[in-house]
């Protein structure tokens, strides 16, 4: 039942009112595109009309003054029209080619970058971390900033064998597409939940809480007279699902929390089917504010891949070709028992063949 105020459920504004004339005119009638230089897309319509899109990096977290500044640039160069991409970059939509250079000049002058097109590393899809969420095992924005500072040259150039899509999520909920990214950075807890026996009875429903644990590690217990729960530590895989349903189960821990790194996932169907990311580095402790070990680990994977991969070989396809043993050898990442799946479908990840390289 909708509420009674006259205006609810109006939904989002209709997109049409935001489209520049050149798009309205050529909507659905685009013919081809080129990428004349990094960060600049040239779309040509059947009518012959041309639309230039200039792609600018952002931190995703953005302040009202910056939003106004973007609006100003849109007015100055794009007849007031601009868009964001699915990876949190801004695209300025230009019809007059002459505006491209001055726009880019303005953008750079203000400390932003132009790029992210073609075979480059675009913006990192990421999450809230310590800026806003309650369950993070690490921060999001600070790692993204530190990694992209290191990789910014790959944003502003198109010299890689293929695209690299990087994603970061600060806990196993994986807000974003961490599970299907060329490189994924994932916050991970390594200590079973601490139970707050005082609050628990007040704020949580014990049956729901017990049901929430995929490994049945939680069972009812009575703690000094009050109904509560206890955790079978050895059954806990630190997934955090109990915490989501019950705030009295906290996993956060300054020493035990950190990040793991995943590789080889993708979403597009180009050449190969969509694929999950696989574990590369099981654990790196949190080291704020710039997580140098995480930055180095990501850089290492990018470097080894970019030297070794063939054209159009995204990380996962590169590994398909050379094999996982070669991946660990070339990247010098240590292979551990943690890399061997032991969850639901574990058996399917065993190497059931005599085929091997020597």
């Amino acid at each position: 039942m909708a509420d009674t105020r006259t205006k609810t459920d109006i939904g989002p504004p209709h997109y049409e009112q935001f489209l520049p004339p050149v798009i309205k005119k050529n909507y659905g009638k685009w013919k081809y595109h080129e990428i004349p230089r990094p960060g600049v897309l040239k779309h040509v319509a059947e009518s012959g009309d041309v639309l230039w899109s200039v792609r600018m990096s952002t931190a995703r977290l953005i302040s009202t003054p910056t939003v106004r500044w973007i609006a100003d640039l849109a007015d100055k160069y794009c007849g007031g029209h601009v868009r964001w991409t699915s990876r949190n970059n801004v695209e300025f939509l230009i019809t007059d080619e002459k505006n491209i250079d001055p726009l880019i000049k303005d953008i750079k002058a203000n400390g932003y970058l132009v790029g992210g097109t073609g075979n480059s590393i675009s913006n990192i899809v990421h999450t809230q971390g310590w800026v806003h969420c309650h369950s993070p095992a690490t921060d999001a924005s600070a790692i993204v900033k530190s990694v992209m500072d290191e990789l910014s040259e790959e944003f502003t150039h198109m010299r890689l064998p293929a695209k690299i899509r990087i994603a970061l999520a600060c806990c196993l909920n994986m807000c974003g597409a961490v599970h299907c990214s060329d490189i994924a950075i994932l916050g991970i807890h390594r200590r079973p939940p601490r139970v707050n026996h005082n609050d628990l009875p007040k704020i949580c429903e014990i049956p729901n809480l017990i049901a929430s644990c995929p490994t049945a590690a939680i069972r009812p217990a009575t703690v000094d007279g009050h109904p509560s729960v206890e955790v079978l530590k050895e059954n806990c895989m630190f997934c955090g699902n109990c915490y989501t349903v019950c705030p009295a189960m906290t996993l956060n821990d300054p020493d035990m929390d950190g990040v793991c790194i995943w590789v080889g996932g993708k979403v597009s169907d180009a050449r190969t089917r969509p694929t999950f990311s696989k574990l590369a580095v099981p654990f790196i402790p949190n080291n704020p504010p710039r997580w140098p070990e995480v930055v180095a680990a990501v850089k290492n994977i990018v470097d080894v891949w970019s030297k070794d991969a063939r054209k159009y070989e995204r990380i996962g396809q590169w590994i398909d070709r050379i094999g996982w043993p070669a991946f660990f050898k070339k990247t010098e990442i240590e292979f551990t028992k943690y890399h061997i799946d032991d969850y639901r479908y574990a058996g399917l990840s065993f190497n059931r063949t005599a085929q091997q390289r020597f």
Partner: protein, 400 residues
């Protein structure tokens, strides 16, 4: 600029470097904001970097009248140290399809959020919303009123339909096999009630991509993924092919023939041929030579179902449900299918069980029966490899 300023040496280290700095953004917000939120968040972040732990409490239920979603309640666990962010609720604002804006719309949003909140936002959240980061409970109704006033509405949160999103599609892409923005907007409007009033076992997401490149990662992130495709032949401009070959930018044998998953591209040095009956509509050859190759003209979309992140049973990618559909506004038959699925899943799904997990639990065969779809081989990567067949027990020997 308002509110106490905190000393933030660690945060400040994050202002250096080539990439835009979120810390700088927060400071800009602090400088221009009439409120103290931004300073508070900086202070608390500094504490997090120092102590290696977050300082937000588990969110409580807050929201606006008549809506069950759209707001994420958030409170500091150290309000004594950071009183400015004792409350720091998030508001999810449904973005316009394709994330197109005019400068005016952007200024409207900036003005109202500066007035009533932290001045910090995400453009955009991972689901696609405009995310207003941080305000207090008693500002929620006013923010909502101002938003509606400017023609915006809230997005989804909780166990409801989440804010749908789409690639820019036909607005700017020559490969869009259907109008992603029109369909995304139409279904968003059609399902306003489901979007604003959580009544499902868990969240449900729609994402619309104009072709199999899937520029909104629908196949990985949406319970229902609408992926453009085509049934007829790839359009070839042989002259343009020759140009690419001549330009030396493309080695057709290496870059295309060898990488085609359908093994159906031929190249004799002069003419490019495609055995379209074996083409998998993967987009690769088109991606490499956009001037020479284009999807066919008998276009439409595939509907895939079930993608999700790992909680609770493990992550899933969407799987094929409807191999080909020709979308016609107002998309009634799609809505009928969606309604069927909502009914069956709402009726039988467990709490916090995404539709993908529901299908795995009850079995795809049973799920299809319950929504009235015939099983087809397109829905599976391969038939069962185990002999544990749950034969209907009514059935007699006369099955084959």
């Amino acid at each position: 600029m308002a509110g106490k300023k905190y000393d933030t040496p660690l945060c400040d280290k994050l202002e250096k470097g080539a990439w835009p700095s979120f810390i700088t953004e927060i400071k800009k917000a602090a400088a221009s904001s009439p409120h103290g939120y931004a300073n508070g968040v900086l202070g608390q972040l500094e504490a997090s970097y120092t102590e290696k732990i977050g300082h937000w409490k588990h969110g409580g239920i807050v929201g606006v009248m008549g809506y069950g979603g759209g707001v994420i309640g958030r409170y500091s666990d150290a309000p004594d140290r950071f009183p400015e962010v004792e409350h720091f609720h998030t508001i999810r604002v449904n973005q316009p399809a394709g994330w197109f804006y005019t400068s005016k719309a952007l200024r409207d949003l900036a003005d109202l959020w500066e007035k009533r909140g932290s001045g910090i936002m995400n453009m955009h959240g991972s689901t696609g919303d405009i995310v207003f980061l941080g305000t207090k409970t008693d500002e929620l109704e006013p923010v909502f009123a101002d938003l509606v006033d400017k023609g915006f509405d809230l997005g989804g949160s909780g166990s409801d339909l989440r804010t749908p999103s789409c690639c820019c599609g036909q607005a700017r892409c020559e490969w869009a096999c259907y109008d992603t923005m029109a369909m995304c907007h139409a279904l968003t409007m059609h399902y306003q009630d489901e979007l604003h009033r959580p009544a499902f076992p868990y969240k449900y997401k729609f994402k619309f991509a104009g072709c199999p490149n899937d520029c909104v990662a629908a196949k990985a992130r949406s319970d229902m993924s609408f992926i453009g495709t085509w049934r007829d032949d790839i359009r070839i401009d042989q002259a343009a092919v020759a140009e690419y070959a001549a330009s030396g930018k493309v080695d057709i044998q290496k870059d295309i023939v060898a990488l085609c998953p359908g093994r159906c591209v031929g190249w004799d040095g002069k003419k490019l041929t495609i055995d379209n009956s074996n083409c998998l509509r993967c987009m690769h050859c088109i991606n490499v030579m956009p001037k020479a190759l284009r999807p066919g003209t008998d276009t439409g979309l595939s509907i895939l179902i079930g993608a999700k992140a790992p909680i609770v049973q493990g992550a899933q990618l969407s799987s094929m449900l409807i191999p080909f559909y020709k979308p016609e506004p107002p998309y009634e038959d799609v809505c009928d299918l969606v309604d069927e699925i909502f009914d069956v899943w709402s009726e039988n799904g467990k709490n916090r069980e995404r539709v993908g997990e529901f299908i795995q639990r009850v079995g795809m065969g049973n799920f299809l029966e319950s929504i009235g779809l015939e099983p087809t081989p397109e829905m599976i990567a391969y038939p069962r490899d185990n002999p544990y067949i749950f034969f209907d027990q009514e059935s007699d020997g006369e099955e084959e």
